[in-house]
């Protein structure tokens, strides 16, 4: 007994010593033991902590991969690129290397699954609404970093899909007027994807992006803990507090949510292990088959498909053909008009005006420098619409824009309630359509351009319709969120 007492006393002294110099106890209280989270979190609230877990998995496995991987595009004695061979070296000759590599490649796909579900939770319960706009924007920045991280990392195995995927994506920058061609050479460091590209992508993947990512994750969490978590009812638990200032519907994050999240982790790890141990290729979706051919700048694959997590956006890029542009322009102008009418935010109104003006000049008039008036061209009579920027530019703008749109949500949503539980049938229908469109776009993006469902329904028009539905979800939100028939929110959270 005395022995135990001595140990605890010493530990107390040590803690006191640290606390005088670093706010350890304060941090522990503010972020864990006395961070009060709503007690009614459901299934959808597991994915934040799981994203953090996958980040840790990626960093730890990544460290070990870097110890053995060689970012070198030159050919070894057997005529295989050194980078490609070093991945196989990890798979075969490094102790446990196979599992480290599979965990990293599976982790990349799982990261996106978890983050997409985490974002979907935000859509369901209005987690982006005031006062959580900055949490949402930090989250958007994390999502962008994640995409960059995945893109840079995918080049490293130096297989055919690595090479040609990077080639296609970097070429997209050529579509930017004036600076495009020089910019894409600047990014690659060469005229084609080459050793120079591989080395800089390695630097970005291993140092630059992870640093930014970690900073953003910290900002995301600090902002969250400042305003407190949202919950499936979308009501503020801070409205009703007890005598000690503790929210009546709040429970300390630790131990309640730490033990709950540990259970979530255990289920996640089971799914993760099933993939790593039994299907690491994920049926060709997680590790593309073609990527087991070493990169060859002279052999263009018949079908260059990005990894599944990019395909929804890639599909929208592909759907933006010169045939589809006039239709798209009309719809975007219509949607922007409705957004303009629907929103109360003056900045979004201005953005809409700018968007319509920009699109107008871009389609009809803009040559590289001059803002020439719209040509009286057979265009308008329905023959040709090519005087403005070409379809490739609009496709790239579409792909970038469709990702960015998520960032506008806090200002697009005009509903009096946050959570889908109290929103009306209009929102539920449009959200369902949005999800279906997103999934269909993702599916079509993995297929070759001529794909048809059951060999009958051509994929092109389906992708075009889905693109418009995707845009409508965001663009029409100020309108439908305002007129939708909502139910009254409860005062306190409802038990699950």
């Amino acid at each position: 007994m005395t022995c135990c007492k001595i140990v605890t006393d010493k530990a107390q002294q040590l803690l006191g010593w640290v606390d005088e110099r670093f706010p350890l106890t304060t941090l522990y209280r503010e972020h864990l033991a006395e961070y009060y989270a709503p007690k009614n979190f459901n299934f959808w609230y597991f994915f934040g902590s799981l994203a953090l877990l996958v980040l840790v998995i990626q960093i730890v496995t990544g460290i070990f991969l870097v110890m053995h991987y060689k970012p070198d595009a030159s050919l070894n004695a057997a005529g295989v690129p050194v980078a490609f061979a070093s991945v196989e070296y990890i798979m075969r000759d490094v102790a446990g290397g196979k599992f480290i590599r599979y965990m990293h490649s599976t982790g990349a796909s799982m990261f996106f699954i978890v983050v997409y579900l985490h974002m979907f939770r935000g859509l369901l319960y209005g987690s982006y609404r005031k006062p959580r706009e900055l949490i949402w924007l930090f989250g958007m920045a994390i999502f962008l970093c994640l995409m960059a991280e995945a893109f840079f990392g995918y080049l490293l195995p130096w297989g055919q899909m690595s090479f040609w995927g990077a080639q296609v994506i970097v070429n997209l920058f050529e579509a930017i007027p004036v600076i495009g061609p020089d910019l894409s050479i600047f990014i690659r460091g060469d005229f084609v994807v080459s050793d120079a590209t591989l080395n800089r992508f390695f630097a970005f993947h291993v140092i630059a992006i992870p640093l930014v990512l970690l900073g953003l994750v910290a900002a995301h969490l600090i902002a969250l803990h400042e305003v407190g978590s949202n919950n499936p009812d979308g009501v503020e638990i801070k409205k009703y507090k007890d005598a000690n200032g503790i929210p009546l519907d709040g429970i300390p994050f630790h131990p309640y949510y730490t033990v709950k999240d540990i259970f979530g982790v255990s289920i996640f790890l089971i799914v993760f292990a099933i993939i790593v141990f039994f299907a690491p290729e994920g049926g060709g979706y997680f590790l593309e088959f073609n990527n087991f051919f070493p990169a060859d700048s002279l052999k263009t694959p018949a079908h260059i498909a990005p990894v599944w997590y990019f395909t929804p956006f890639y599909s929208m890029l592909r759907a933006t053909t010169s045939d589809f542009l006039p239709v798209l322009w009309a719809f975007v102008a219509l949607i922007a008009g409705l957004t303009f009418r629907g929103t109360g935010c003056v900045w979004i109104k201005r953005a809409c005006l700018l968007l319509v003006a920009g699109l107008y000049w871009g389609f009809f008039g803009l040559t590289v420098f001059g803002f020439t008036p719209p040509p009286i061209d057979p265009v308008v009579l329905g023959v040709h619409l090519g005087r403005g920027l070409d379809a490739k530019f609009w496709g790239v703008a579409m792909m970038g824009g469709s990702v960015m749109l998520f960032g506008l949500l806090p200002w697009l949503d005009q509903s009096p309630v946050k959570s889908i539980r109290y929103k009306g049938p209009l929102f539920k229908t449009i959200l369902t359509l949005f999800v279906i469109s997103f999934v269909l776009l993702g599916f079509l993006g993995t297929k070759a351009p001529g794909y048809a469902f059951f060999g009958l329904i051509p994929g092109g028009p389906v992708a075009a319709i889905c693109t418009i539905l995707y845009l409508a979800f965001f663009g029409l939100m100020p309108w439908y969120s305002r007129i939708d028939k909502t139910k009254p929110e409860p005062e306190r959270v409802t038990s699950k």
Binding site: E88, R92, F263, I267
Partner: protein
């Protein structure tokens, strides 16, 4: 099922009648034969023998070390005595003696490294093993090719038929038909052995299956161990899941 077929047929008719061009089935490659892949030591050893004798003279498998074959029941001495023609130590990689520049001169292309070929050749049509199994059985005589050989699955292939001594020489019979839309489509009608090899057709298929099994195994040696380890990991994680669930339940008793 039949109702579904009828509906599909009706839909197909409707689409065709409406004049919408039918889109050809995307990525529809030629049908592949299902490879009977076997991971038992006897098949893999036989496959390794064929691989070393017939493939390794031109193709490397530079990610594979000779002593990896101890995993398929061979001792280092056996590997040394029977399989190592181009290496001194069992720890060496399966390199090829052929110089790449010479190969390019002779075949028009340097023979690719085969370490992960079975993984690379997988597609929606079938596994990489299926592709290899079909490919190795579809070489035929074609005098228009520089090597005198061609392949049904890989038309214009640079590689001559390395296993011809076993299979013999095949002749391919193609038929050109109209596909009903005014397009000429060439189909393989039959492959006929015109000069027999040392093996019968069944024996040859059997040997190719062994070879393909080995190439598949070589793409990721120890893939069976990975799976059996997986069961252990899942068992441990399941216990962890149960314990963490009980822990959660115990802590959450007082939350109402």
């Amino acid at each position: 099922m039949s109702l579904l077929n009828k509906l599909l047929a009706a839909a197909a008719l409707a689409v065709t009648m409406a004049g919408v061009p039918m889109v050809a089935q995307a990525a529809g490659g030629p049908a592949l034969d299902k490879a009977p892949v076997r991971f038992d030591d006897a098949s893999l050893q036989q496959g390794a023998k064929l691989f070393v004798n017939y493939c390794l003279s031109c193709h490397g498998a530079s990610s594979v070390r000779y002593n990896t074959l101890t995993q398929i029941g061979l001792s280092e001495q056996q590997i040394k005595d029977n399989l190592m023609f181009a290496a001194d130590k069992p720890g060496e990689q399966m390199m090829v003696a052929l110089r790449r520049d010479d190969a390019r001169k002779w075949f028009g292309v340097a023979p690719p490294d085969l370490s992960v070929i079975a993984r690379a050749r997988a597609s929606e049509q079938g596994s990489g093993a299926d592709w290899l199994y079909t490919y190795l059985r579809q070489f035929y005589r074609d005098d228009s090719r520089p090597t005198g050989w061609n392949n049904v699955l890989f038309p214009g292939v640079g590689m001559p038929h390395a296993l011809w001594g076993l299979q013999g020489e095949q002749e391919a019979h193609f038929v050109t038909k109209d596909d009903g839309h005014g397009n000429k489509v060439t189909h393989l009608e039959s492959l006929e052995i015109v000069k027999p090899g040392t093996l019968t057709k069944e024996e040859y298929d059997e040997q190719v299956a062994n070879l393909v099994s080995f190439i598949t195994w070589m793409g990721e040696p120890g893939q069976e161990t990975r799976r059996s380890m997986g069961w252990l990991v899942l068992a441990v994680l399941s216990v962890f899941a149960v314990v963490s669930w009980l822990l959660k339940r115990a802590y959450w008793k007082d939350v109402h």
